[in-house]
């Protein structure tokens, strides 16, 4: 009796949470895959699932530009984020001393203001006649038709801004774990500062950089808020297309095929990543 009970315990513990995930995550995803292979539209009704794969072709041929924008904005955003985050993470990890947690807290401050409000605030700060550009134009330091909002750099800037802490933290954690004795050993072997950095510190911190890329790229590539608030109408990403197909056009099969393509591409990418690094690291980085 006792034996069967302990064997059942993990399943009983799993049951409520597992059911919740099954009903509200797995089932909707399966329904979405089915929907993505239906023909028809909202007025004349939809066909049977798994009969029509043209939505996938349409999704890539009609919205190639937005797919490309997503890849470029998120990719550039990640690169800029790494370049900005590494020095900070390095400085806090090695020179932060007793105030390390204070600096980390300061970096997390933006999270105490709503994501939408932060992004809209940037829109206001950088608006054509706002406190910055309006002043500069008033002083004739900028021409009247200069603008930032509505451009691709504004979208990339917004992406970097919103996800930067998710790059700094994993790099910091990786650098913090570097054993100072290893650096010392490098010195003792007559490596100069640059060699110690490229041969010792940088390789040891790469898992942090990889985790940061993951935490930045996935939300950035599928985001539509930054593109809509800061990019105007001309810099749409694939997230905007999915949003419009769902809320405005209501072409659910096409929207489902776009969603599944996006998720598939990102998950395959992550899977290759996870294989190279070990799943545990990626999961833990995601949790941190």
């Amino acid at each position: 009796m006792r034996g069967t009970r302990t064997k059942l315990t993990p399943y009983l513990l799993m049951l409520p949470g597992g059911l919740w995930l099954a009903v509200f995550f797995v089932v909707p995803i399966i329904l979405m895959i089915g929907l993505s292979t239906m023909s028809g539209n909202i007025i004349s009704g939809f066909g049977d699932p798994f009969h029509h794969f043209g939505n996938y072709i349409d999704g890539f041929t009609q919205y190639g530009h937005q797919w490309l924008n997503s890849a470029i904005y998120a990719g550039l955003g990640c690169l800029i984020s790494i370049v900005l985050s590494y020095p900070i993470a390095y400085w806090i990890a090695f020179y932060g001393g007793a105030r390390k947690s204070t600096y980390l807290f300061l970096i997390l401050l933006p999270f105490f203001v709503s994501f939408v409000l932060r992004t809209v605030a940037w829109n206001y700060i950088l608006s054509d006649q706002g406190i910055v550009l309006g002043r500069l134009k008033h002083w004739h330091l900028l021409s009247q038709n200069f603008h930032i909002i509505g451009t691709a750099p504004a979208v990339i800037g917004g992406i970097v801004y919103n996800y930067l802490p998710f790059m700094i933290l994993p790099i910091y954690v990786a650098l913090e774990r570097v054993d100072p004795r290893v650096i010392e050993a490098g010195r003792d072997l007559y490596a100069n500062a640059a060699t110690v950095f490229t041969k010792v510190v940088l390789p040891l911190s790469l898992p942090g950089v990889f985790a940061g890329v993951l935490l930045n790229f996935v939300p950035a590539a599928s985001d539509y808020v930054n593109a809509q608030v800061l990019g105007g109408t001309g810099n749409n990403m694939i997230g905007n297309v999915i949003y419009n197909q769902y809320f405005i056009v209501q072409n659910y099969p096409l929207q489902a095929s776009l969603s599944f393509s996006l998720m598939g591409i990102l998950l395959i990418g992550i899977f290759i990543y996870a294989r190279a690094l070990g799943t545990e690291d990626v999961l833990e980085a995601a949790a941190a």
């Binding site: 995550f25 900005l84 999270f111 709503s114 999915i242 659910y252 996006l262 990102l266 995601a286």
Partner: protein, 286 residues
């Protein structure tokens, strides 16, 4: 300690003559890094400063984007909560959803975390995979697939569907945090409790739960933070139900009233004070 070593203060003195220059260069490098760090902290804080500053602005038109004089009138509770009842309701909704979703996700996620951390069982790999996919899936996909599901099931979208969605995406984060904590536990402690005559429930309540509590609390805080600020999934699953971020989103096109800035500032201050108090307490306990 690592800082001291990099400073070169504790390193054995190399040949005299080279040392001062190397040291000077290192100091300069350190100073530049220090400046970069502060510059980025200021950049990160800039929109917050803007939000707080413009909560004291007295705008002439609908757009609260140019400074036109200091006023405290929007901090007056009757104007703050009375002028836009929808905004006040949306803020209440945000807290309501966050509290319920945090409780739900923490209870369910803790159980999953315990199962994954303590036991080896069939289906564990599949569970890990589903959780991983749930965390890694883009929000726009989570939101749109859930909304399609609710549509097909003819389930009226509103507060309940938002709570269901929030519990779903918070659950895995709690489970991972708790699982990480469970893995650090020594199974001998639970065995000792059993040897001393404690039943499974007593062992859990008096031994396991107190030991995993830091993980549970961390998971709950994470869930609360994720839920209260969620925008994308909420927008897809909310129907006509509005939360604070949704209200800001729909109002931002016509210009946000200063009340939004005041509420944003208050939430910011409460959050910061809470975080500082929490860190002082946890440091004292440690």
């Amino acid at each position: 300690m690592s800082a001291a070593i990099l400073d070169g203060d504790t390193a054995p003195a190399p040949a005299a003559g080279r040392r001062p220059r190397v040291r000077q260069r290192k100091r300069r490098g350190e100073r530049i890094l220090h400046w970069i760090t502060w510059a980025l902290i200021i950049w990160l804080a800039l929109p917050i400063a803007f939000v707080i500053m413009f909560s004291f602005n007295n705008p002439h038109g609908r757009y609260n984007i140019t400074w036109s004089g200091f006023t405290l009138k929007y901090w007056n509770p009757s104007r703050l909560f009375g002028q836009y009842p929808d905004l006040t309701t949306a803020l209440e909704h945000s807290f309501e959803v966050a509290v319920i979703a945090t409780i739900g996700a923490t209870v369910l996620g803790t159980l999953v975390g315990l199962a994954l951390g303590k036991y080896r069982f069939r289906g564990q790999g599949a569970t890990n995979l589903v959780q991983f996919a749930c965390i890694a899936a883009p929000e726009v996909v989570l939101g749109s697939s859930l909304a399609t599901f609710f549509l097909q099931a003819r389930f009226q979208m509103g507060e309940l569907t938002v709570i269901a969605a929030h519990i779903m995406f918070c659950l895995s984060f709690v489970a991972i945090t708790v699982r990480a904590r469970v893995l650090t536990l020594d199974p001998a402690v639970e065995e000792a409790a059993k040897d001393l005559g404690a039943g499974p429930w007593e062992t859990f309540r008096l031994v396991t739960l107190p030991m995993i509590m830091p993980g549970v609390i961390a998971g709950a805080l994470l869930a609360f933070a994720l839920s209260i600020d969620d925008f994308i999934t909420t927008e897809f699953t909310s129907g006509s139900f509005q939360t604070y971020p949704l209200w800001i989103w729909s109002a931002s096109r016509q210009g946000l009233p200063p009340q939004v800035n005041v509420m944003g500032s208050i939430i910011f201050l409460i959050g910061v004070i809470f975080a500082i108090v929490y860190s002082i307490f946890s440091r004292r306990r440690a």
